[in-house]
Amino acid sequence: MEIARHWRLRKQRYLLPEAGEHPVGVYPIAPNGKSARSANGHGAVVTIEAEQSTALQTQVRTGTVYSYTTVLNAPADFEEQAPYVLALIKLDDGSMLTAQLTDLGEEPYIGMQVEMVTRKLRTDGDAGIIIYGYKFRPTLAVANA
């Protein structure tokens, strides 16, 4: 059963910190490959007080679809949700990441506006943990935005 590998990444998966941001209990590598640096400039693990992380937690991650594909042949553990759409998302801060699109009410298209949500990625079999992480959905239409 896999535990540590997922547990280590929970901050990234739930909160999607940007490069340079320091969530509580920083992890050196962000999905975009950049390292979050501590004061001494090395990619060491640093614990930051929670009060410094306000903007991070309530910030919605938004971006646009850079490319997408509907995956029909899914690897083991991902079959449950197949077919699913995998995409390259260009976040509004300029960084790029790979994530599924979800909650699609229409065909996706390059340039579609999307926002991050936290969803089930897969389970580690029937008895293992449920792995949650980021996906992106078409930005929710809000009446008085």
């Binding site: 937690q57 449950e80 009410g105 449920i130 949650y132 929710l140």
Partner: protein
């Protein structure tokens, strides 16, 4: 001293003291709803199970997507609540999710939600279960935690991805959704609590044994001895002890397993259809179980003006009812539009047929 007099005096003191009020005034600082986008028309259930000839208790119900569960839905509702509350998540000292469909039997949903919204690690995070009133139970506990000054902010959530046995009456209505409420000091609240009251007995109208996939229910027993006994009792005691009547309220919202029960309960208590219609969502969303009355409340808060008085009466099988009375403040107008409203989620819909719904709900895996 005459012991019977003493008894009467003590009883009178007890009657006065039946409502639960915290030592300091607290209220709702932020709230947020979540309803998934998928819908199963009740006509689809009827098509498969009654040849389209049976009646339907509601129009359609919400269905969670393949990648959704109470954890993911609670996270989104909580993020909406945080957007409205405008507080740093680290000041939240309890994250309490009430549901009857927690993804883990052991490992609290609340631990994951707490981490995902940035509230960890200085929090309480146990899960709550009391059928459809687990959310309001969590809310009352949050009122207690904050009202006693043990903490300044606590997050309570009622959320469910309810399962209906295929072919059962409940399959028409068992739905997914709910809402999150951040409870905090009155000065920072968009709605302040007047009092709460909980009426609970051992009444087996609906239950699920540990290893069963689907719940069992008492059919017509779920009406008068269950729903109505507890909802009406809780509401009447609340009104009596507040010295209020239905007309003193602007809104009322009841637990909504279907359209008939809350409509009749409201009527029996003296509420008009206008008072209950904003919070009555079951026709379009279905019964979201532990999220039911809380989702209705979020729709009310989305449109309420300052100074609106609201009565919430939940119901959980097993059985019990929580009555909660609150009044909106000026802050409600500032915060209503800081996050998606309940109706924004309700009007976001993609229709499913019964086959796709069965796949989504995992009924084909069994």
């Amino acid at each position: 001293m005459n012991t019977s007099n003493n008894h009467n005096n003590n009883h009178a003191d007890e009657q006065k003291g039946r409502l639960l009020r915290p030592s300091r005034q607290v209220g709702i600082v932020g709230y947020g709803a979540y309803v998934p986008r998928y819908r199963l028309p009740a006509s689809e259930v009827a098509r498969v199970w009654t040849g389209g000839m049976g009646g339907t208790p509601i129009h359609e119900k919400s269905v969670p997507g393949l990648d959704e569960d109470v954890v993911t839905m609670s996270i989104e509702a909580s993020r909406n609540a945080l957007s409205r509350a405008q507080i740093d998540p680290s000041v939240i000292r309890a994250v309490w999710v009430g549901s009857e469909s927690h993804p883990y039997a052991v490992k609290p949903t609340s631990t994951i939600v707490g981490e995902a919204i940035g509230a960890s690690p200085n929090i309480l995070a146990g899960d709550w279960e009391f059928a459809c009133k687990a959310g309001t139970e969590a809310m009352q506990a949050a009122i207690g935690l904050v009202g006693s000054s043990m903490a300044d902010y606590a997050l309570s959530i009622g959320m469910d991805t309810a399962q209906g046995r295929p072919g059962d009456a409940l399959e028409y209505t068992a739905a997914a959704g709910g809402a999150a409420y951040i409870i905090g000091p009155a000065e920072n609240s968009l709605a302040v609590f007047e009092a709460t009251y909980s009426y609970v007995t051992d009444t087996p109208d609906f239950w699920r044994r540990a290893h069963e996939d689907y719940p069992s229910h008492g059919d017509r027993f779920t009406g008068e001895p269950a729903y109505f006994e507890h909802v009406l009792s809780a509401a009447r005691i609340m009104l009596e002890e507040l010295g209020a009547e239905a007309g003193d309220f602007d809104y009322a919202v009841f637990h909504q397993p279907n359209v008939k029960f809350p409509s009749r309960a409201g009527q029996m208590l003296g509420f008009t259809p206008e008072q209950i219609q904003t919070g009555l969502l079951v026709g379009e969303v279905g019964n979201v179980y532990a999220g039911s009355s809380l989702l209705g409340l979020s729709a009310i808060l989305d449109e309420a003006k300052p100074g609106a008085r609201i009565l919430v009466v939940s119901y959980g099988s097993g059985a019990g009812s929580d009555a909660i009375s609150l009044r909106t403040t000026d802050l409600v107008s500032e915060r209503q539009n800081l996050a998606p409203r309940t109706l924004d989620y309700i009007k976001r819909r993609t229709e499913l047929d019964y086959a796709m719904y069965s796949r989504f709900r995992g009924k084909l895996n069994k």
